[in-house]
Symmetry: C2
Subunit: 308 residues, 2 copies
């Protein structure tokens, strides 16, 4: 039982209408790892610069996350600064400095090679493919990507699809990748190219799993205070993959529950800056929100109308 | 068991990326009535001009809808022309001519005054209030509104809220009415002013019911072909209110199922122009899609993680 995640380990400066955080831990591998650690053993592969605060990842270590694969290189850490609009539904990137992440070439430690599940965070698809070459026999492979790679490195990305069980994208990325405005058709286009499953993340509108002939939805959790949306999608993926590794199952009921656990972790992630909320979350709180999701979506059918 | 709807009875000219329809039946009362007629007796109050094709509402009559309250006045019928974008997610209004609808002052026929449920379609809130004065004791009152009235006639609209059990709005309208970007807070603001329940329609992203201390979601149905989105929101409201009248119940389980029946009728409405699909829909098809909604959203909880 172990999930390996390859992705960014960053420092984020985030401004929201409510507050501002300076150079706090961020990046896809950090949010993913924090969320997945509630369910399973997590192993991180990434790189930080020599400016990365020594204790910044202590909350991950405290949750048992294995950071053996986080290399420290000479230079600056990946830095992102962004500002959210008044309604938190859009954001402006103020600054991106790739630093040592610009030359990142993931090396998988020997102790990670038996990982059951591999999650390829949003990096160059050529590097995502190279990661897979280093892991003999993962039971499940998932990946995230973004518009930058869809536009700029389409061929390696389509090659990558052949190796995936699950692709995580947002609705805009799915449409852009499949070149189809209809989401259901876009998902099918992607599924036809490798991943049997596509998870489409829609932020406040929830998420959709397109699987083998069936579909499952989770809504966005209706928080009265969204503090900082950064990392919600990565926390979603972490909750989804972590839960799936924990159950070991792959049947539709396991996948449905994985979606709900993903939504739960995503919804908690946005309640504070960085991984602060995830670091201070209890299993009872996770289980409580899963129950709330059930109340918000489940219904019984009675009195079916018929024509006869 | 009867639902009274007051709203527009229009002629629509609709252009989508696939096809075009000229002067076909449209308007809130038409879509609402077609959908609600699957579940209960529907009575329509509206006005058409002397140019309205005599047999245009025959499909409603065939479904047993009572059109006694549809007045024919000298002049032109309400006409709307619109064009949808390539992805059907936005539309441009090409022309609106109010015609006789501009002087519409709803008169409730005596035979309608015992209606159990009243649905006030999207018209001037002052007229919506006048309708209520004519109906002694409805068991449930719901209304729809739009940005035009929120901006232009805010005071009568807020007065109307005091008389409502349920308000139907889209997410943008909810935010505009409550002057709060957070949807959960906007819903609470509205609930505090009268309607115990707010249904927020989000188009392809589904719908949310904010009720008394609980929330329920339905997703948008993932159609591979959306033919014409016109009227989806009105068909949703018709399915919701019609189902609720059919059950007679008001407990959370009834309301949950009402949401799903609303989503079902909305999803069928968009499969063709005008009310063509609703006019040719079977009860078995309705029941089938309700079951699909259940498969798309329901899950069982197992193995809740705990801290102990």
């Amino acid at each position: 039982m172990s999930v390996l995640v390859v992705g960014s380990v960053a420092l984020d400066t985030v401004e929201t209408p409510f507050a501002r955080a300076e150079r706090v831990p961020g990046g896809s591998a950090v949010f993913f790892g924090a969320a997945a650690s509630f369910f399973t053993e997590v192993r991180v592969v990434g790189v930080v610069g020599d400016d990365y605060p020594v204790d910044a990842l202590a909350p991950l270590e405290a949750r048992g996350v294995d950071l053996t694969g986080v290399e420290r290189a000479a230079g600056e850490s990946f830095f992102w600064a962004g500002k959210y609009s008044y309604d938190l539904n859009s954001r402006e990137t103020l600054e991106t400095r790739l630093g040592v992440f610009g030359d990142f070439s993931p090396t998988i430690p020997a102790s990670y090679r038996d990982s059951d599940i591999v999650f390829l965070g949003n990096i160059d698809p050529t590097l995502q493919l190279r990661v897979l070459e280093q892991i003999p026999r993962p039971r499940l492979v998932a990946a995230d990507t973004m518009n930058f790679w869809i536009e700029g490195t389409r061929e390696p990305l389509i090659e990558l699809l052949r190796h995936l069980d699950i692709l995580f994208v947002n609705d805009e990325e799915a449409r852009q990748l499949a070149r189809d405005a209809n989401l259901a058709k876009a998902a099918r286009w992607i599924q036809d190219r490798g991943p049997g499953m596509v998870v489409i993340k829609k932020g406040e509108h929830g998420a959709i799993l397109f699987a083998d002939g069936w579909v499952f939805f989770t809504p966005g959790y209706p928080l009265e205070v969204v503090f900082d949306p950064t990392g919600a999608g990565d926390a979603f993926a972490g909750g989804f993959m972590g839960y799936l590794d924990f159950t070991g199952g792959r049947d539709p009921d396991d996948l449905r529950r994985a979606m709900v656990h993903g939504s739960t972790m995503g919804s908690y992630a946005v309640e504070s800056f960085s991984i602060d909320r995830l670091a201070n979350l209890s299993h009872d709180e996770v289980a409580g929100r899963v129950r709330t999701f059930r109340e918000m979506t489940s219904f019984e059918i009675d009195l079916p109308a018929t024509d006869s």
